[in-house]
């Protein structure tokens, strides 16, 4: 991994007796898109607030771009752009004026800020609404304005808290593509939190699963799915239609038995007429051949890869079982 931009060590935050973040260790490298995923109340936002130095941790250290966020929050905030959850703007000001204000707070002159804001508004696709009052912006437009607002300070890191909540699917896609493009073009490190796993999966280089203030797992999706799957890394899902002709045979030779006998098959599970075959290597073509030769009508066969959703639920279940 490249040099680490965000480094959390033993970070803990308690509210009374409730531990929101529990001894969190995390490191995000330069130019990475890191997804902080977890259910509501998992401590994602609290972690973000601590990274920005907006709230003090009870113990542990946060280092962003080599600066301690707890002691020098202003220095950190010069380099980090933060888009809060459900971002708001000054309703009476136009989109441009809102951005110019942020720019000037970051030490720009008014003319610099105006130039920069115009470029940014264009790149987030708001060039037509530049003089419209921010109060009349739609949710998706506000979110894009928020992204421009974050970028006006030329950040090295951007942190987005639930950036895609409440936007329609097309909007989400556009927004995420924008983030990826920016991250790659400008080499910006992106950390974002979300509970929408599927969308996160599309853009993140690495993800961290966050439940109850603890980081349950971190890594890229492939390595996570390997870790999760244990010794049966491949799962083939098979659908078989009931066939009257072969009804008798089917009773004798249950598909599960046939599959079980195959080389490389570890587990066979039946759920609602579908068979889930766990195997050591990719033998989906063999499974298909075997089933067809045995006279079954194969209606559906898919090689299942563990998505983030599965990983998440697997971990989440595990966590629930532990308690």
């Amino acid at each position: 991994m490249a040099e680490s931009i965000i480094e959390l060590v033993g970070l803990t935050k308690r509210y009374g007796t409730f531990t929101a973040v529990d001894h969190l260790n995390l490191s995000v490298g330069k130019g990475e898109i890191f997804g902080l995923l977890g259910p509501n109340g998992a401590g994602k936002s609290t972690t973000i607030l601590m990274i920005l130095g907006l709230t003090e941790p009870d113990s542990g250290t946060v280092t962003v771009c080599g600066t301690d966020s707890v002691r020098f929050p202003v220095e950190v905030k010069k380099k980090v752009g933060y888009l809060p959850e459900d971002v708001g703007f000054y309703d009476k000001y136009s989109g441009l004026e809102n951005l110019v204000y942020t720019g000037r707070l970051n030490g720009m002159t008014e003319t610099e800020a105006i130039e920069k804001a115009e470029v940014l508004l264009d790149s987030v696709g708001l060039s037509e609404h530049i003089h419209k009052k921010a109060g009349n912006y739609s949710r998706g437009m506000r979110q894009r304005l928020g992204l421009a607002d974050v970028l006006i300070k030329d950040p090295e890191v951007i942190i987005l808290d639930e950036p895609i909540m409440g936007i329609d699917p097309a909007g989400i896609r556009e927004f995420l593509e924008m983030i990826v493009r920016l991250s790659k073009e400008e080499d910006i490190t992106v950390l974002f939190s979300s509970h929408q796993l599927y969308q996160a999966q599309q853009v993140c280089d690495r993800v961290g699963l966050f439940v109850g203030g603890k980081l349950l797992a971190e890594g890229d999706i492939n390595s996570l799915s390997k870790k999760l799957a244990g010794n049966s890394p491949y799962l083939v899902e098979v659908g078989i239609a009931g066939n009257s002709k072969t009804g008798e045979r089917q009773r004798k030779n249950h598909p599960a038995e046939i599959l079980q006998k195959m080389d490389g098959v570890l587990t066979v599970e039946e759920k609602k007429g579908r068979y889930y075959v766990g195997c050591t290597r990719d033998i989906s073509s063999g499974i298909a051949r075997e089933l067809v030769l045995s006279g079954f009508e194969l209606t559906y066969l898919t090689k299942k890869e563990y998505g983030l959703e599965d990983i998440y639920y697997r971990y989440f279940e595990g966590e629930a079982n532990d308690e």
Binding site: K77, D86, V87, G88, L105, G107, T109
Partner: protein, 353 residues
């Protein structure tokens, strides 16, 4: 002399070249002036807050109420000023101050308006300072900028204070200007200083209410709640507090037949002490002492003390001496309110709305 000589060319240079540039490219000058200066973020924030305050409908309403009442009271004062001139009046030399204090009973004088509408102005400017930022979702965005957290609350306070100051100076000088034109007598130096101190006093008084309402705006999430809380405190001090004091003092009042003079004086001091816990009482006592130089004491005076006194106005120093406790009490109450707003705000954890 030497320093001055150095300063003059140094100051002149940008002015000249600026002038030169504006001749060459009209429109450039303004842009150069406002556009290319690197400003401290705090100044940027104060500028924005001032422009927000001044442009808000609420401020326009408040200032029009206050400006109208000022003109009304000025009108009554001017129509009655002739009858106020009394050759035997020891305060006759302070005719100009009467513009701010006299009335024929139809409309209250200017000082009463200020003590009555000032709190409203303070509460009106401050009640949504913090919680509106929070409910709009701009507070967490603002906090993510490279500024110190106290810039936000300080900028709000400084901006509102600035607006209030400009307004009071403008109104009081307006009264003064119209007064000079219509009665034809300019204020003496002492009168002018008394008026200046009166303006400063009104600013402090309004700043007290402003800070009180900023406390509520930090504490309550809803702007309506904090506005009501501010108004409730104001009404309490203006209406209910004197009533309560009356009830208490009636119960413990020594009977006039039995009490010695000493007891009566002590009781009166006690009653006044209780009353002076209210900031509006402090303010009205202080202003009337300032603008009515014949006020010699704010407490009870015995016949012995009055015997042999020559009726005459107090000199400025003595008037200020008389209200010094009031002044310190008002300033400390204002500072205390600011601290009570500041500390919780600094400790508050700001999440998105």
């Amino acid at each position: 002399m030497n320093d001055l000589a150095k300063q003059i060319p140094a100051n002149k240079k940008p002015g000249l070249s600026g002038l030169f540039r504006s001749f060459l490219r009209p429109g450039e000058k303004k842009r150069k002036k406002t556009g290319t200066q690197h400003r401290n973020p705090f100044r940027v924030m104060v500028e924005k807050e001032i422009s927000d305050q001044v442009r808000s409908l609420r401020f326009i309403i408040l200032i029009s109420i206050i400006a109208l009442t000022t003109l009304g009271s000025l009108y009554t004062a001017l129509t009655n000023i002739a009858s106020a001139i009394n050759p035997n009046d020891p305060a006759g030399s302070f005719l100009f101050l009467k513009l701010y204090t006299i009335s024929d009973g139809t409309l209250p004088p200017y000082i009463v308006y200020v003590s009555f509408l000032g709190p409203l102005l303070g509460i009106g400017l401050g009640f949504d300072a913090i919680n509106q930022e929070q409910s709009r979702g701009t507070l967490s965005r603002l906090l993510a900028q490279p500024i110190h957290r106290d810039f936000i609350i300080n900028a709000k306070f400084v901006a509102s204070l600035f607006v209030i100051s400009v307004m009071f100076f403008a109104l009081a000088f307006l009264v003064m200007g119209i007064g000079i034109i219509s009665i034809g007598i300019p204020p003496t130096a002492e009168e002018f200083i008394r008026i200046l101190i009166f303006i400063l006093l009104s600013i402090i008084y309004v700043a007290f209410w402003l800070n009180l309402s900023i406390i509520f705006s930090v504490q309550f999430r809803q702007p309506a709640t904090s506005a009501l809380a501010g108004l409730a405190v104001w009404l309490f001090f203006v209406i209910f507090y004197p009533m309560i004091i009356n009830l208490i003092t009636k119960a413990i009042e020594p009977s006039s037949a039995m009490a010695s003079a000493h007891q009566a004086i002590n009781f009166d001091k006690f009653r006044l002490g209780l009353l002076r816990l209210a900031p509006n009482v402090l303010f009205s006592e202080a202003t009337s002492t300032l603008l009515t130089p014949t006020v010699r004491s704010l407490g009870p005076l015995t016949m012995e003390q009055l015997q042999g006194t020559i009726p005459g106005p107090l000199p400025l120093g003595q008037s200020i001496f008389l209200i010094w406790p009031h002044l310190t009490a008002l300033i400390s109450a204002t500072v205390a309110c600011f601290v009570f707003a500041y500390v919780p705000f600094m400790r508050k954890e700001i999440r998105s709305r």
